[in-house]
Symmetry: C2
Subunit: 308 residues, 2 copies
């Protein structure tokens, strides 16, 4: 699946992933009204609104981008109905040829991590049959529990040719609280990054590993170091746009080959119509605003990479 | 909810939580056959088997124990159908008066952690209404992302009088890979433990905080230190029984008042009938075997506490 991700990136010339994190406040009024008039202001109504909103965006941008990253929390908060909307979104994006990176940040020990890996990336056995639970292409994984927690994911990745992105240095302001603490003079994120390189060496695609890493755009200097620590790991870079990361901050996350990083934008794309810059599209044409925001982001990254 | 947990522990005289982690290989043949004959060897069939199995155990032990801890991965692996079985289990246990600790190990940044917190412990707003998504009593939380990731949970705990257990020192063999690394001469888990005490100070019940910690029974020496670092945090102790922790290992997790810790056993209780010790019950009476295993565990812990 890392090979497909890279092929998609080369084809679209856009190292961009659109974060499908549909908060209700982003969803245009006309979509919410239609959903609530059918299902009421219920969990089901919310799930329907999310799904229609996502579908509009995906239809408008799928030819421009290699991948999407639905954040499962934004669905899980609506209970079972939300999970159904999540699965529907995953399935639809795959039908459209997009690589689906499920931002689930799961991670547990041994057989429990195996259950997560099987449920999100692999097949679960029921008697003499086996079934996909959610069937995404990539999942994000939390490393706090160590190798016991990550290796079951690596095993499923090997079997299914799928991938993971391990949290190394997250984009949020307090990520340093534990991740930056020095261990023998080196920050914890670097130690985790070394492990990512190690785990990934057992699970290589053609050019890059099935085991990637999450490193926030908000920390470009750390990105520069981690790029060297994990040369074969694709870096999923959140924090661009709304969180403050700029095109120029991104160059350090890429390798010389122009590959090695994929940059996420969520709100900046999916709620573009709420920004002054794209206000002319209006809520009715929210998906066109998202398309323009993707084009602008692609240009911003291309310029930054050309200038390095 | 920490007050209710403590009241339940005092009432049952059993600082025990039963881990409802229903792997299909634990489920007696007759339950699987009935479920598969109705729904086939499908995700729905698996979910039905899990639900019937759980119900049998809960009916047999609910009067002996204060709380259950369903591990969501064991349900999530069966996709939407599994999630429905999870919710059904949570709701049923609450009906029976049990405190439900959802072992979800979620954790993300800012608004995303808020969505998890709202979905699992609080109410989500849909238009002019608000709804519970999963509505558990406690959730486990991964601290790797720092305060940004944990504080949204604390906020919901304050509003809803619910609680969390933050992963501090996990029970698995490789938990030391990152958690034991020394920072200014002290292991990371101790630094995390200090933060747990800090977060918890903003969210106190009558005697203990709504913010607890997870510390594995397999690491009793670390438990002794962490008990002092977080005097007001309830400690959820996994790793007893099947993972190797013994009654004598547990004493350090408790405070002088005999409170402060609740010990989880999953396989050791729910699949007791598969152990030689309880084989006489047979698969037909698997729930009676579970009841006996709870009684034995209660005795083991009581003896260990009496002997200290």
């Amino acid at each position: 699946m890392i090979n497909k991700l890279i092929a998609n990136i080369k084809k679209t010339n856009a190292p961009i992933v659109v974060g499908l994190d549909p908060m209700l406040k982003y969803i245009p009024q006309q979509i919410k009204e239609a959903a609530f008039s059918e299902y009421g202001e219920t969990l089901q109504g919310a799930a329907e609104a999310i799904w229609q909103y996502n579908k509009g965006i995906v239809d408008a941008v799928y030819d421009l981008i290699p991948a999407v990253k639905p954040q499962i929390a934004m669905y899980e908060q609506f209970g079972i109905e939300g999970m159904i909307a999540f699965k529907r979104t995953v399935d639809y994006c795959k039908e459209k040829g997009l690589v689906v990176i499920a931002d689930v940040k799961r991670g547990d020990i041994g057989s429990t991590s195996e259950a997560y890996a099987v449920g999100h990336l692999g097949k679960v056995t029921v008697g003499s049959k086996s079934w996909y639970g959610f069937d995404e292409d990539f999942a994000t994984v939390n490393p706090y529990l160590g190798s016991d927690g990550v290796k079951p994911f690596v095993k499923v990745c090997q079997e299914e040719k799928k991938g993971i992105f391990v949290l190394v240095k997250t984009s949020n302001p307090s990520s340093g609280e534990f991740q930056d603490r020095l261990i023998d003079g080196r920050p914890l994120y670097e130690i985790v990054g070394e492990q990512v390189a190690q785990w990934g060496s057992e699970c290589m695609g053609d050019e890059y590993s099935y085991v990637g890493a999450v490193v926030g755009a908000t920390y470009p200097e750390q990105g520069k170091i981690l790029r060297k620590v994990m040369p074969k790991a694709y870096i999923l870079v959140p924090g661009y746009g709304a969180q403050g990361g700029k095109g120029a901050d991104l160059v350090h996350f890429f390798n010389e080959d122009g590959l090695g990083a994929i940059v996420n934008s969520s709100r900046g794309i999916i709620a573009a119509y709420q920004q002054e810059k794209y206000a002319k599209f209006g809520p009715e044409n929210y998906a066109d605003a998202s398309r323009q925001a993707v084009l602008d982001m692609r240009e911003d990254i291309a310029q930054a990479l050309a200038a390095r």
